[in-house]
Amino acid sequence: MTTNNIRQIYVDHSAGKPVDSRVVAVMLPYFKVLYGNPSSFHRFGQEAKQALDNSREDISKLINAEKPETIIFTSGATESNNLAIKGMAIRNRQKGTKIVTSAIEHMSVVNSCKSLVRQGFQTTFSPVDSYGLLDLVKLEENIDEQTKLVSVVYANGEIGTIQPINEISEIVHKKGAYLHVDATAACGQIPVDVNKDGIDLMTISCNDMYGPKGVGALYLKDSLRIDPLLHGGGQERGLRSGTENVSSIIGFGKAAEITRLEMRSESKRLVKIRDSLIQGLIDPISYTFLNGHPKKRLPDNVSVRFNFIEGESILLSLALSGVFASSGSACAAKTLQPSHVLLAMGLKHEEAHGSLMITLGRQNTQKDADYIKELIPGIIDRLRNMSPLTPKELKK
């Protein structure tokens, strides 16, 4: 991609992805021609409803759900996480008031749990090891008879570590609880099968599969009942009232279909680029480390930390050379707190500040990775020369 002759390399795909042009093409008729409300009796309405159901089927196929009706459309992963956690907790309040989750969840899970604490629920954030893998022994200990819901991220988009969902599911079910999985970053990159993985509820994001933003889904196992967050006309089996975002849902279906057909080859391609980039940063630059697991890792994720410097300075320098990435540094975030995910893996604050997240996507090539590999050592060197921190300082 080039603009004004400056090379532009976008590598912030976990934050936002472009919409596939095949997805845009199927969406367009639903703005000006097929604009009916799926709840309407007439032809315009029934056409929209049929299209909606087709999308439901495409998404249920991607995750091997037992039937299309298990897919509930929402406004995105944040709403799906809210609906799963609050909907399950409140529905099962009489049976138990404890929720167990992990220390590396997305803020929509963290803050949903915290909002329930204010309503008398208990939440335990189960720890992870230095690779970001859930400690399964501690997890099992944390699930008591009061626990009816366990919520775990399939793979955290920031560090890329993929959790052993199958093993987690066994533990959760043995203890008599239900398992919600946030598959926002995973679904679309690695095979996700709710049946094989033993998942009861699962959050799916549309933009993470190159569909439009503002739409997502919650998979809800056929036999399960939850309380809705939004009350109204009873759309989506009464679990998500409000006229459906038809054009986006149509796009979502297409995005899921493309993902199902192309994911394997695309992921294989990305893993090669990812690993060459990781090696190309860690080997030549001293005091540089990989965040997350080297093998159990999302194909798009390169998360590294450079000691003695701060992430926002790295991002600024990269952007000046046309590379657009992300950081777990506090200074690059709204909260002024370094990423809780990096801290949960045992990193010191100053180490978390020096992290750089590169997330690859469909338009990235090996050439992009080579350009980044050539660019970064100079940036790190310049910033380290300016830094008062040294290897001695960090040990303190």
């Binding site: 410097i309 701060e310 300075s313 100053e350």
Partner: protein, 129 residues
Amino acid sequence: MYSNKVMDHFTHPRNTGEITDADGVGTVGNPTCGDLMTMYIKVKDNRIADIKFKTFGCGAAIATSSMTTELAKGKTIDEAMKISRASVAESLGGLPKVKMHCSNLAADALHAAIEDYKGKLEKNKEAKK
């Protein structure tokens, strides 16, 4: 997000480095918070003859450090003490709101270096007595 002036000082920071025989050294901030800076000054005839900095921090932290050294160089000790966080931010054409507190520490580092210099001066006087 940043003004052109901030970006200029970030990409071409003035007076980076250390002064090994500095007359005053001041360090403020904390790497835990993501900002740490050290100012080194050399004083001649009650004026800041030379000044250098080392900073760990975001773009704003580096730019404010650079701007502070530029404002302080050649000033008398009293004039340099009047350089404030606000005047540094203003000289840079403003800073984003969230950066005004955590990353705008360079004036404090300068003042700390001057205090260090004054303290040493006092000690020398005492020693001579």
